[in-house]
Assembly symmetry: C2
Homo-oligomer: 218 residues x 2
C-alpha cells in the first residue's frame, strides 16, 4: 500500500509539472505531440518524414527520449531543426520534469510544433502526462492486429493512431481491418492514419492533418 | 530518495521470492525460461513453434503474462499443455510473486521445461528476476539493428537472443550482421539463434539447443 501511495504522489507531482509545461507551450502557440510506441515501431522515421514534409511551412522542434544513446537525436539533427536529447539511463518513460528541463534549453520562439519522441514502451508512458496537446501512438503492422486490446491504456489515452509499415502487409499475418476495429473499440475517438516511412504512403495525409492543427494562430 | 529506497525494497522482496521459485523449480528438475521482448516481436509464436517441435520429447508448461486479455493463453492451450494466464491489469512486467501464485496452481510433476512469457516490454522486465534459469530475449528484425544498444539492460541480462522474423529481412532496412554485433557488444556471452515462426527456419536449432538443456537428468 505504501508503494501505491507514493506512486500516486509521483503522478500528482508529474501532473503539476506537466500543467506548467502545457501553459508554457500554449503561451508560445506551440502544438506539442507526445509520440509513443513499442521499440522499433518507427517513431524516429515518422519524425524524419514529418520534418521533410512540413519543414518548409512550419518550424518544428524535437525532443528525443531514449533509455540509452543519442542515435535518434543524431538522425533528427540532420534536418537542421532544434533537437534536445534526453537519456533516461534505464528509465522506462519520459516524465514532465525531464521535458521541463529540455524546454528550458530550447529556443521556443517561433516554433509551431514540438514533437516529443518518448522511450519505446507501449505500457509505461501511457500514464505520464508531459504537457502535450495530444498523444500520437505509432503501431507497426509487424506487431500484429491484437495489440490495441492487449495494451489498451496507450490507445485509450491517445488522440491519433499511426498504423505504420503498411508496405509490409503483404508479407505479414496482420489483418488491417481487425487492427483498426480493435483500436476503435478501445477508443472510438482515435484519428487513424496508415503510413509507410519507406514508400511515404500516408505521410501527406498525416502531415496535412497536423498542419491544419499546428499552423500558428498568431 | 524515498522512492528509490522503496523501489530497492520492492526489488529485494522480489529477489527473495524469485529465490524461492528457483528452489522449487530446481527441486522438480524444471528448466524455466523467462521470455522477454517488445510487444509483437513474436514471443507467443516462438512458444507455439517450440511446443510443436519439443512436445513429443519433453513435457512443457507455459505461464502467460499480459497487461490485458487471455489471447495468448488461448493460443497456447490449443497445444494441450498446462498453461496459466497472469493478467497484470496495467502492470508493465511480471514479478516473482505473480509467478509464485501461478506455480501454486500448476502441476509441476513431470514437467521438463517451463516457459514464462513476460509482458511485451523491452525495458521494465529486465530488472525483475522471476526465478528462471535464463532470460531469453526475442528481437524482431522489424525493430531495427540498433535496439541492443538502445535498450541494453535486457540484452545484458539475457542468456539467449532469438532474432525473429528473419523471413522479412529482404523487405527491411535492417543489417543482420550489425544487429548481432551490437548485441554481442552489450553481452558477448549471448547464445544467438536466427528464427522465423512463419517459415520455421532456425526453430530446429533453437529447440535442439533447448532440448539438450531441458532433458530431465532424473
Amino acid at each position: 500500500m505504501k508503494v501505491i501511495t507514493i506512486e500516486r504522489k509521483v503522478l500528482e507531482k508529474n501532473d503539476e509539472i506537466a500543467r506548467q509545461n502545457r501553459v508554457l507551450l500554449e503561451q508560445h502557440g506551440i502544438l506539442a505531440l507526445n509520440l509513443v510506441s513499442s521499440p522499433g515501431a518507427g517513431k524516429t522515421s515518422i519524425v524524419e518524414r514529418t520534418l521533410e514534409h512540413l519543414g518548409k511551412d512550419l518550424k518544428v522542434g524535437v525532443i528525443e527520449g531514449d533509455v540509452q544513446t543519442d542515435f535518434d537525436a543524431q538522425r533528427v539533427a540532420r534536418y537542421k531543426v532544434p533537437v534536445i536529447q534526453i537519456v533516461t539511463n534505464g528509465g522506462c518513460h519520459l516524465e514532465a520534469r525531464l521535458v521541463q528541463d529540455a524546454l528550458s534549453q530550447m529556443d521556443l520562439r517561433g516554433l509551431d510544433i514540438l514533437i516529443i519522441e518518448n522511450v519505446g514502451n507501449l505500457v509505461c508512458p501511457a500514464n505520464y502526462d508531459l504537457g502535450e496537446a495530444m498523444k500520437v501512438v505509432v503501431l507497426s503492422t509487424t506487431e500484429g492486429d491484437d495489440k490495441p486490446l492487449k495494451y489498451p491504456s496507450m490507445f485509450r489515452n491517445a488522440s491519433v493512431l499511426l498504423i505504420n509499415k503498411i508496405d509490409l502487409l503483404p508479407y505479414l499475418n496482420c489483418n488491417l481491418a481487425a487492427l483498426k476495429s480493435n483500436a476503435l473499440q478501445i477508443n472510438p475517438h482515435l484519428q487513424v492514419f496508415e503510413t509507410s516511412c519507406t514508400t511515404t504512403s500516408g505521410i501527406a495525409e498525416w502531415c496535412g492533418w497536423l498542419k491544419d492543427r499546428g499552423a500558428r494562430r498568431s
